[in-house]
């Protein structure tokens, strides 16, 4: 029977709320840029992974590998990937070697889209006026928090 500390329930004291609010605010800040690209925010994250994969990895990513990278499951990814396929940005192909897997690849248009992102994101970063070293410290802090939470399973 250990003594539990008393805990604040004030909204402004909640790290969880700040995280939730800041995450949605950042997504909103990306909206004008993403509208120009015709992507939603999660679709943009998927494209980031596929661009990165396309540049360095020797084999195509599966839905599972993508999900591990983004911490999303097939219930979220399957319909999202179908929309990206409808937009002709990606291709989905059932693996011949293991028919349970679906391999993902970029179309020409999907590859080309990357070139349009760079200047838009640079402009967004400039306009936001966010201090780079401050943002970096925040990113590292979030990384540490994420690892701790994932350690709890």
């Amino acid at each position: 029977m250990t003594d539990l500390p008393s805990v604040s329930l004030a909204l402004d004291d909640q790290l969880c709320f700040k995280l939730y609010a800041a995450s949605r605010a950042v997504t909103r800040a990306y909206k004008p840029m993403l509208d120009q690209l015709g992507l939603t925010y999660p679709q943009y994250l998927v494209m980031l992974v596929l661009w990165e994969w396309h540049a360095c990895a020797p084999h195509l990513p599966t839905v599972k590998a993508l999900g591990e990278r983004l911490l999303l499951d097939s219930g979220t990814l399957t319909p999202l990937l179908k929309r990206l396929e409808q937009l002709a940005l990606i291709k989905r192909r059932r693996s011949a070697a293991d028919e349970r897997e679906v391999h993902l690849s970029l179309s020409e248009a999907g590859q080309a889209l990357r070139d349009r992102v760079q200047p838009l994101k640079a402009r967004l970063l400039c306009d936001s006026g966010v201090d780079l070293s401050h943002a970096d410290a925040l990113r590292q802090g979030l990384d540490q928090l994420l690892r701790q939470i994932r350690a709890l399973l």
Copy 2:
């Protein structure tokens, strides 16, 4: 024609992704506790605001006031509040003075629920092993980021 800086598109460099991933991870960490309370995470945040309001404010909050506090709009809040009303945790009453407004108040059960949260959250905080000063620094950093983004409109 200003020169735009070159920007990384690597997923791990993106503050936005760390924020998005950490926010969802924290929500998952709250899930066992919230399941015991019969609440979803956004519903829990609404209850935090109503408990706080109930304790100090002289008048009942409206949907609008709640939305300003949580940065959510009526499209999200209206159905969520109806579910909380179905759970008999809150009451919704159209204002007599201004029929555009809906005033929110806690039921007896809604007030009583607060007492069950305190120990559950203390236990969660203990088990998480998150360093308090670290969490506090993170919270302040997020606060600053949130203010900067909101300043962009």
